[in-house]
Symmetry: C2
Subunit: 159 residues, 2 copies
């Protein structure tokens, strides 16, 4: 059983990570909302669509790749459709399914928002660190995500 107290570095490594995340998300969300009238969640969906084959993904795929449930994603896509950034197409190969497809307007909006996003992250976060430091950070995260993946798989197998 792990002790129920953090050591000094432990508390800082975890606690301050929360603060860093909160501060950056505040800045990003404010910028995306003010300049591009989209939330960070909507931005991420547009981004994923832009990466996808044919700029299209199923609602289910989008939901699984995000924090949202199916219903949340269904409504998020609906908002993007209303905003003209995404089109909805029912799936030819599966009558139940629906695709979200990036529109030209969506591509344009995303392109601009993505540039601002990257620029903001660089300006406030990345610029504070050297290239080797960033590589080390990345390797820290990679270690966690690998471990997390194994644990999730083990849990799934149990059920």
């Amino acid at each position: 059983m792990t002790n129920s107290k953090f050591s000094g570095s432990e508390g800082a490594a975890w606690g301050k990570l929360l603060n860093v995340h909160a501060a950056m998300m505040r800045r990003l969300e404010e910028m995306l909302q003010k300049q591009y009238q989209i939330s960070h969640g909507e931005f991420e969906v547009l981004l994923r669509l832009s990466w996808a084959n044919g700029h299209r993904m199923r609602i289910r795929e989008l939901a699984e790749a995000s924090v949202l449930t199916h219903s949340g994603m269904s409504r998020l896509v609906e908002r993007l459709v209303r905003a003209g950034l995404v089109g909805r197409e029912s799936a030819a190969e599966d009558g139940r399914g629906a695709y979200a497809v990036l529109t030209t307007s969506g591509q344009d909006r995303l392109k601009a928002a993505e540039a601002s996003n990257i620029s903001l992250v660089k300006q406030y976060f990345l610029s504070l660190y050297s290239e080797p430091e960033l590589a080390q950070m990345a390797s820290f995260w990679e270690r966690f995500l690998e471990s997390e993946k194994k644990l999730t798989q083990a849990e799934a197998a149990k059920i």
Copy 2:
């Protein structure tokens, strides 16, 4: 002007940070909700109160220390009051103000939840890293938070 593309380490250092945060928060929130019937936000408020002098803080202080607005914090405290974890006292020195005060029941619940929280963070995250690595992470975050503090102050001065 910073380039509108991430270098390899840059994209990973930032993008995977988001994934790490999301994965940990999912685990923490699930545990807190299932075992202690509180959200992570509520947990943080209880924690802050336990640190505070006399186990009491003003609603405004709590809001400023968190992600929430005043109105959001007003309602969060209301929920904690209904759950019996926190009491509400109007401020003697300022007729407008109100204190949230940790109750005995709140202290007990917090104590248990905090132990579980720490244990979970250690188990899934901290245990993956050596003490020097954690110290380095902490120093990375410290660097960001210092920079962020200065920038926020500069912005505030401008307005």
